[in-house]
């Protein structure tokens, strides 16, 4: 440094007085950041305060929290002891919420991209500037191309309000990953069968048999759900797991069926045929509460054990063992509906099969069965339904699609402008680059539109493509979600609860909640007079009002209201129920599905075979990560910094691969993984299959912890299926080879 004078001399220099004047004037005009207060003696200690009303959003389960706050700083998160679900327990991710709150990489102020999409150059702007620009650009697009030219990709509790708003403006082009790349298939299949979406409301705690189809509890962690699962196992429930991988659940199973990927429906059909053939099904429940039995039975007739054993590549004896175990323990069988169910593009039929198996076993409203928890009635405050232009509905080709529009339809319409142009993409808490297969097409669509707006908490793959990037408050700094439900163990004393998310700490920086952001946008787009609530607090209060509650009352109740509830079990002996289906009964054969030219009873639709030399890429959950949202969380990263590739030991040996080798991957289309990972060589996976935990390997280098860590499974999924009934995205349909030291290796036994 070229300063030619010492600090002491500088301060002593008389001539400085003149120079000091403008500097001093400017210095003293500054807004003070510190104010005078009485002196606190050294060693003064600010006590730790427990704050109630927190609700986790590290995943979608939303455990209720308390926060230990010291001097305004959140130092620890714990479960709220009053919670009927998680109690005082929270998972690793829940604990690590503090790190999200205090992550230096988090989005802090509204940003404008003055560079290119994909290589942004950010400029901090004011909220007024950001909202003015977003509104102006949306207005131009809506005026020229119609309101349906705006597409929205929402996710998470805070996205409910923007979702309502954009639908109100007249766009049906809203696609939630939680439906189209997750549970939408399951929900629609169960609605077509039982008339309601099942959530994960299956009474594992009191089951005699727990039957998991691909669900890998233990790696898939939700506290009250795991409490139910573990209580069931403690009580002696038999566990049956269908999974091509020796998952955490498989390791606890009485019967692990290492099934060939994509053939689960065939297995389920054969199980149901066996139950029918042996008469080991709940005949009273089927007679009184189901319809379409004859057509259903006929549809299962082909599913012999021999056929299924060959199709599924499992021993016939094991298949029969599973069927007989289920039949011997009916109706107290927990046929888990799963959650992420968009696997092969034939998934509606598999979920239908799970629902029909549940019905065949009479496993409804009984201990161990599918149940319908009854919470407290809540209110609503809504923008109201939008009016869509004629012929703008892209979802019409999928008659059983979940709410919104299939994601791929939006992307293809964006790219082709057929049947009409889509010119703006808005992502709200969703990272479509890691939720939708074929990232190159997603990026092409993002580059094609006229405007991209993203609202998030952290930099994500998608935020790299934003023109305007808006920071939300984290879930620890805001109000939003109101949750109701019942005690975690359905057999315990019936209780109900209501909890609302309340901030545990003051917000940092300039994050805003979604109601504020949407209202400000709506005012600028000419909808100021239609705003349903002035604030998120008002929204929460309206939700709570029918229960006689308010934010203030909940605060006084330490965050959770409880009252006596209703048992989810039917009275003993009751086997006749009315369901909210077209027939009023459980539809083992659905006229509605049949009349839309699909199989009215669960049908097996084969998925593409693995090409020679490749392995099928399947993916799943890590207990310490939630999708791509926790990639940058340094505490969670420490626990599992990358996602090892599971590979069969015989395949590895033949390819000359060893456990711990660092590898990359290439898929059937020549797409290479951006990063590397390590190999986990194990007999615990089928030779035709490899496995990665999802949610690693972000392409956004702004994530200083998560960047380049592990392999992004989605980057390798370029071959995908679209479920014919629902339009959901099947994503276990791509094939890969391992690359080591530049050599692409054949995946052969």
């Amino acid at each position: 440094m070229g300063i030619k004078i010492s600090r002491r001399k500088f301060l002593q220099t008389a001539s400085l007085a003149a120079a000091a004047l403008p500097l001093s004037r400017l210095a003293r005009a500054a807004e003070p950041g510190l104010v005078k207060k009485p002196v606190a003696a050294p060693g003064s200690f600010t006590g730790t305060e427990t704050r109630y009303g927190g609700m986790c959003e590290m995943c979608f389960w939303r455990c209720q929290l308390t926060g230990k706050v010291r001097d305004g700083r959140l130092v620890k998160l714990e479960g709220n002891p009053k919670s009927l679900e998680n109690g005082s327990s929270i998972c690793a991710r829940g604990n690590a919420g503090i790190q999200l709150l205090y992550d230096p990489d988090r989005l802090k102020y509204p940003l404008k991209n003055v560079g290119e999409r994909g290589a942004p150059k950010w400029k901090r702007i004011s909220w007024a500037e950001a909202l003015d620009e977003a509104a102006e650009r949306l207005k131009v697009i809506q005026k020229k191309h119609g309101p349906h030219s705006v597409a929205l990709f929402p996710h998470g509790a805070s996205a409910f309000y923007p979702l309502q708003y954009f639908e109100f403006t007249g766009t049906p082009n809203i696609s939630e990953a939680s439906f189209y790349q997750c549970r939408g298939v399951r929900d629609m299949a169960y609605m077509s069968t039982f008339g309601f979406a099942p959530n994960e409301d299956v009474d594992m705690a009191n089951a005699k048999v727990i039957f998991l189809v691909g669900t890998h509890l233990g790696e898939n962690v939700h506290v009250s759900h795991l409490k139910q699962y573990l209580k069931g196992l403690e009580n002696g429930a038999k566990l049956v797991v269908l999974d091509p991988r020796f998952s955490a659940a498989a390791s606890k199973a009485d019967i692990w069926v290492p099934i060939k990927p994509g053939t689960d429906t065939a297995f389920l059909q054969a199980v149901m045929k066996r139950l029918l053939d042996t008469g080991k099904y709940d005949q009273e429940f089927v007679a009184k509460s189901c319809t379409g039995f004859d057509q259903f039975k006929e549809a299962m007739a082909h599913a012999t054990p021999e056929w299924a054993a060959k199709t599924c590549d499992v021993p016939k004896a094991q298949l029969l063992q599973v069927a007989d175990l289920l039949g011997a323990n009916l109706p107290n069988v927990a046929v888990h509906p799963g959650r992420h169910t968009t696997w092969y593009g034939n998934d509606f039929q598999r979920s239908r099969a799970q629902a029909c198996l549940t019905a065949l076993l009479g496993a409804y409203a009984v201990p161990g069965g599918l149940i319908r928890p009854k919470g407290v009635k809540l209110g609503a405050a809504s923008w109201g339904h939008g009016v869509f232009a004629q012929d703008c509905d892209l979802s019409k080709f999928w008659p059983f699609h979940p709410p919104g529009t299939p994601t791929d339809a939006i992307r293809e319409t964006t790219l082709t402008a057929k049947p009409y142009p889509i010119k703006a993409w808005i992502a709200w808490g969703q990272n479509p680059i890691q939720t939708i297969p074929d990232q190159a097409r997603t990026i092409a669509a993002l580059k094609k539109v006229d405007f991209v707006m993203v609202t998030d908490i952290m930099p994500m793959d998608i935020t790299m493509y934003a023109d305007i990037l808006l920071p939300e408050k984290t879930y620890l700094e805001r109000y939003d979600y109101v949750k109701t439900g019942m005690q975690w163990d359905p057999a315990a004393k019936p209780q109900q609860f209501v909890a609302a998310r309340m901030p545990l700490v003051e917000p940092l920086f300039e994050g805003r909640d979604s109601v504020w952001i949407v209202n400000e946008l709506a005012k600028r787009l000419g909808h100021g007079d239609k705003i349903p609530v002035a604030s998120i607090e008002e929204h929460v209060d309206k939700r709570l009002a029918p229960a006689g509650l308010s934010i203030a009352k909940l605060k006084a109740l330490e965050g959770i209201f409880t009252q006596d509830g209703v048992s989810p079990y039917a009275p003993a002996g009751k086997r006749e129920f009315e369901f909210d289906t077209e027939s009023g009964k459980v539809e083992l054969f659905s006229e509605q599905i049949d009349s839309n030219d699909f199989a009215g009873s669960p049908a097996y639709v084969p998925t593409a075979e693995v090409p020679a030399g490749y392995a099928r890429l399947v993916y799943g959950r890590s207990p310490v990560h939630s999708f791509s949202r926790t990639q940058n969380n340094i505490w969670l990263h420490h626990e599992m910094p990358e996602n090892p590739l599971w590979i069969n030991d015989r395949v590895a040996a033949k390819a000359g691969l060893k456990d711990g080798d660092r590898i990359t991957m290439v898929n059937q289309d020549g797409v290479k993984s951006r990063n590397s990972t390590v190999l986990k060589v194990t007999p615990g996976i089928r030779p035709d299959t490899v496995y990665l935990a999802h949610g690693y390997g972000s392409m956004n280098p702004e994530l200083t912890v998560g960047k380049d860590q592990g392999i992004d499974d989605q980057s390798l999924i370029t071959l995908f299926g679209i479920d014919r009934e629902t339009g959901a995205t099947g994503m276990r349909t791509s094939f890969v080879k391992v690359v080591k030291d530049g050599r692409t290796l054949e995946m052969m036994v």
Partner: protein, 193 residues
């Protein structure tokens, strides 16, 4: 120049440098901030920095835009990476997090000398706040406390921050300001530096 005057001048310098790290706005530029900085550089005889400062765009709107982008890139959010978040806890060994126990320690230090964060103020270990605190201590004649604060709450992290700004700054303005902060806060040696 008396010690009191020198202390006041140093306090003003701290405040001025802290103010230099605020997000740029038209009023800030119009008030002559760059002129004052140039005069300070001249007094210090730092000719190279003076010349670099003169290389900044002359047109106010262009200059403001450039400074806003540079400020965002250095201190807020940036692609491919934010250069140097101006928070002490981030730069401590094993840090990488905002609002840690170190931040609380810094705030406790403020309280020991009768100061509290104003409403809406940033985190306690935000660099401009620390500079303001140093100014306040100087104005109060608390030289020993100033040295203690620098030793305990400032210097442990500032070197890491300085290195990142040195390496990552594209415009000279923020690098000069941060070098000046270093000059006015580092431990005095025998020769007075």
């Amino acid at each position: 120049m008396s010690e009191a005057v020198a202390n006041q001048l140093l306090a003003d310098v701290y405040r001025f440098l802290g103010r230099s790290l605020a997000y740029p706005d038209p009023a800030w530029l119009a008030a002559g901030h760059l002129v004052a900085l140039a005069e300070l550089l001249a007094e210090l005889g730092w000719d190279e920095a003076s010349r670099e400062l003169q290389s900044l765009p002359a047109a106010p709107a262009v200059l403001l835009e450039a400074l806003c982008i540079e400020h965002t890139r250095l201190f807020i959010n940036a692609f491919p990476a934010t250069v140097a978040p101006p928070y002490g806890s981030v730069h401590l060994p094993g840090g990488g997090m905002l609002n840690t126990a170190f931040t609380a320690k810094t705030r406790a230090f403020y309280r020991r000398y009768g100061f509290e964060l104003a409403n809406g103020a940033d985190l306690a270990d935000y660099l401009p706040l620390e500079l303001e605190f140093l100014a306040r201590l100087g104005e109060g004649g608390e030289e020993a406390a100033r040295e203690e604060f620098l030793a305990e709450c400032f210097r442990p992290w500032f070197g890491g921050f300085l290195a990142r700004v040195r390496a990552g700054a594209e415009l000279p303005f923020y690098r000069i300001v941060v070098e000046l902060i270093d000059f006015f806060t580092k431990e005095e040696e025998e020769d007075g530096y």
